[in-house]
Amino acid sequence: MLSLETITNNVHDWLNNHVSSTWATIIEMLIVGLLVIGLFAMLGLILVLMERKVSAFMQIRVGPNRVGFKGSLQTLADTLKLVLKEGLTPKGADKFLFNLAPYVVMCAAMLILAPIAFAKNFQIWDINIGVLYISAISSISVIGILMAGWASNNKYSLLGAMRSGAQIVSYELSAGFSVLCIVILTGSLQISDIINAQQNGWFIFKGHIPAIISFIIFIIAVTAETNRAPFDLAEAESELTAGFHTEYSGMKFALFFLAEYVNIFVVCAIGAILFFGGWMPLHIGNWQGFNQVMDYIPSSLWFILKVFGLIFLIMWFRWTFPRLRVDQLLNLEWKYLLPLSLVNLLLMTVVAIMGWHF
């Protein structure tokens, strides 16, 4: 059966047969790099269109429907416009940091893609501390946002960046703890191990109530981490005009925009991997027939479906909830989510030690 796994293996074998292994690795890295950039562009196009269509659906509108078939090329047209626009650097801005910031945010979003398994055995880098790596890299993007806010020499930007800093640093804790819950069940930080452990049922089902609680906490925390409504205080259109990217225009703004959507994809992918088995098909215990039918659906499709399901959930939040205030945001984290995550972690440990999970 033709799957992504066989394609990558074939390419790998072919390269190793024709050039020395060093060159093969270099060429593979190049291919991966190009694929990641391609994926970036695709994600941008698809997710922005999806966001606009989802919002239109919720707001009794049609959404973009002029460019291309049912507006499918709308994002392309918008991107073209942004590329052609002048990239202004305001007077008095710290030019170096101002221009660097979007790339930092973008690179952070790109780096997290490394350990994510897109299909069965289709993974850029199956690092043995995959989950830790993800938590570590995901906090880099806040540096880019702080840079952007500081370097813009704009008070709105500064306020937005400071909010974003406080927000991401706090919500990382909850996100980390909910990830730890799954690590406790698996006993491994490696992404492939985590997925393989869900062979006979996804963790959201296997992990009893603690897994469900940690999933809810995870979704809240990552919504905050990606600066999405109802936690979009860093942008807060009605308060801070556009928050940390007020002064950005043209392609530099587009990079922030793109990074936001790739971040959404990434966190949803992590959510899907941790709680819904990543590419693992839906298996129920030992129902042989059912499991086999499910296996016929390609693993990449499973992954995409789960990720986009979660992305839809996060978009749903954005278009139905009002925004929190900055002190309420921090209260929610430090007074409610963090203690809850700690208790939940303890519960999960008890569940894991007693072997109550399936």
Partner: protein, 380 residues
């Protein structure tokens, strides 16, 4: 409002001050000010120390213009003030001219005026609801509000020929008779809106984030509301009974059954609730009148050139934002000697600093939303 050079001294970077405060100019172009309002806010971190509104960006000297317009003409300028309740503004001017000329207008005109007033109030509150939700960060409610508002606008378009600046009220009655579809359309709208008004509560009022953003924020006590001259839902949210329709009934309001909505919450949420309830009351008023519009003239016979007798005339009405007053000083000519408009937005805005002090920036936006400012109304 302008004191010498204080805009210049308050500009960013020059007055960061020893206390470490940060001064930010919100507006004149800012998504939350819904117009060209300029607020100079002083911040300590995220906390607001002081809010100072600067006006004049949309000053068209309407009051001065009115002095050279006849009593038939000056009414049209008032549509451009509070453009969301232009009917009610026009109504007030027409009333004041009628008061001067001592014209008794036909019953049909009275009914039409009240129905259109209440429709305008509904449309205004709907827009406020959507815009307020947008200030808080929820974008979707805006579209729901506009779905219903569109129906009212269609009714207005059919009857008055305009969707925003109606200019339908004239001294002596209304300009034209009702469109034959009017009653049917209004009934359709009422039935539709009644089925949808619960959606408003579902998507916004009941939302825990929304309630947290609104409750205990922007507090103004009853005494303060009175001393700042707040009127309309802003004052009624603080427990002040100030509905002109009840206290000084004009036209046929005294014979209509409706409640004055008063809420003692004193915060943004109280003001929100007042407006939500007012929408239901407006529906109730329209329902009472729509089937009983008497036959007859829609306009009293008036002279072509109106001349008000020498004297001073003041009338007030309740717009969607509060008490709107027209004060005419006449020297007996065809044009007023002096006209003064008392606009609700101006007094309500003056309380903004009081409400916003000590709250966060996000609250400032929520409070401005709850006061329901229309900038051309403030500046005139």
């Amino acid at each position: 409002m302008y004191r010498t050079t204080d805009i210049l001294t308050n500009t960013p970077n020059t007055s960061l001050g020893e206390a470490g405060y940060m001064v930010i100019n919100v507006g004149p172009q800012h998504p939350a000010t819904h117009g060209v309002l300029h607020l100079v806010i002083t911040l300590s971190g995220e906390t607001i120390i002081n809010v100072e509104p600067h006006l004049g960006y949309i000053h068209r000297s309407i009051e001065k213009m009115c002095e050279s317009l006849t009593y038939r003409q000056f009414i049209y300028t008032t549509s451009r003030m509070d453009y969301l309740s232009s009917h009610i503004n026009n109504h007030c001017c027409a009333l004041s001219v009628e008061k001067g000329l001592q014209i008794e207008i036909p019953d049909r005109a009275k009914y039409i005026r009240i129905i259109l007033d209440e429709l305008t109030r509904l449309a205004s509150h709907q827009l406020w609801w959507g815009a307020m939700a947008m200030d808080i960060g929820a974008i979707t409610p805006f579209f729901y509000a506009f779905r219903e508002r569109e129906m009212i606008n269609d009714i207005m378009e059919e009857t008055c020929g305009a969707r925003l600046t109606m200019n339908y009220m004239v001294p002596g009655g209304v300009m034209y008779d009702l469109h034959p579809n009017f009653q049917k359309k209004v009934k359709e709208f009422i039935a539709f809106f009644k089925s949808k008004i619960n959606e408003y509560d579902e998507i916004l009022t009941g939302n825990i984030i929304f309630q947290n953003r609104m409750k205990g924020v922007g507090i103004i006590s009853k005494e303060d509301a009175i001393s700042y001259g707040c009127t309309g839902p802003t004052a009624r949210g603080s427990g002040v009974s100030c509905d002109v329709r009840k206290l000084y009934p004009y036209e046929i309001y005294s014979s209509i059954e409706f409640d004055e909505i008063i809420n003692n919450g004193c915060d943004s949420f109280a003001r929100y609730e007042v407006r939500m309830q007012e929408m239901k009351q407006s529906l109730k008023i329209i329902e009472q009148l729509i089937d009983n519009i008497p036959e007859g003239d829609f306009q009293a016979k008036t002279k072509t050139v109106l001349k008000l007798p020498k004297g001073e005339f003041y009338t007030r009405v309740e717009t969607a934002r509060g008490e709107f007053g027209v004060y005419i000083v006449s020297e007996g000519g065809t044009t007023p000697y002096r006209i003064k408009f008392r606009s609700p937005g101006f007094s309500n805005l003056s309380a903004l600093n009081h409400m916003a002090k000590g709250n966060k920036i996000g609250d400032l936006v929520a409070i401005m939303g709850s006061i329901d400012l229309v900038i051309p109304d403030i500046d005139r």
